[in-house]
Symmetry: C2
Subunit: 196 residues, 2 copies
């Protein structure tokens, strides 16, 4: 049984929704990028000035769209990346967790009993989903943002982990949510987690 | 239910073995690259001279290692690629099939009821498996060959389909056989095939 599940995902592919459902079904702790970032900022490895700086760039309280627009403008710097890495390892050491985002698959590559998952989706399906989540934003703006996030996650992954974002050999299981449906993705992850 | 299953795979990751088992369990027709190539050569779209030429380059009868060493030296040319494409479509039109290799996921991207699978494996596990299959070849020679095939499949895929070999968004389901085990991969493919 794998008791540390990481979920990397394309923007809008439903990684968080699927991850939460998996955590609930397996009785695991759920942890996403905002929680990791918060833990990193509170870890004491960054100075109060740095925290203020990141707090301004990543306003949790501003809600989903706003937070992401700011957050993905450019890769966060090494110090914050390292603080997040430590936060992820701390969560993983306790086991029984689902960790979404932050290239946790690479950060935890030496850990045992891991299941590294990647969730993709067609651009059309992801756009539709994000438009529903951001009803006040024009579709073309959402599409532009989606492509920008795609590019940034790729760059972030390459820069910090020297691996290719979404390249199958870096994950145990990759699922296309727009083809299989969310429920089937949840079933398959839970089934795969039973592997030795 | 998906009744056309394509399996792309890294060399040595067990794609054929897994594909055969899936076909058997679901009662589907199994079709691999040698069968596709044979159908392409027999399709009448190539001249007898061309067939003789390819027959010399791809000697089926010489067995596994030999055939692959010759086969992957360079991408086959466009005419043969197109003949193989037609052969793959012909198999798919009948449905209830598992097709291994030849970028069938891209060739059949307009088909309904498809499940496109990619099988990866760690280099270590793939090397071990290939060494068992080629007991008379020194390990370093097998490793060299494995890396050459990896490079060639990537190039072939890029050249003929303009897509990235092994990039998760091009497949519905990607599995790492060295992590999950062959039996779990077979189970997961059969389970995923039940998706609408």
């Amino acid at each position: 049984m794998r008791n540390i599940i990481t979920i990397s995902r394309q923007f809008g592919a439903g990684g968080s929704t699927i991850g939460q459902a998996v955590a609930e079904r397996l009785g695991f702790y759920y942890c996403d990028k905002d929680m990791i970032l918060k833990a990193a900022l509170e870890s004491g490895t960054l100075t109060p000035e740095e925290i203020r700086h990141y707090d301004e760039r990543v306003p949790f309280q501003f809600g989903f769209g706003q937070s992401l627009f700011d957050f993905y403008n450019k890769p966060l710097d090494e110090r914050l990346f390292n603080a997040q890495k430590e936060a992820i390892k701390k969560v993983a050491e306790k086991g029984n967790c689902v960790i979404v985002g932050r290239n946790a698959n690479i950060i935890l590559k030496e850990f045992d009993k891991t299941l590294h998952v990647f969730i993709s989706g067609s651009e059309k399906a992801r756009l539709k989903r994000m438009c529903e989540k951001m009803p006040d934003t024009p579709e073309e703006k959402v599409l532009e943002h989606l492509r920008e996030v795609d590019r940034t996650r790729k760059k972030y992954c390459k820069y910090y982990t020297s691996t290719l974002f979404g390249h199958a050999p870096y994950y145990d299981l990759c699922l296309k949510s727009s083809s299989l449906g969310f429920d089937k993705c949840i079933d398959l992850i839970c089934e795969a987690a039973k592997a030795e």
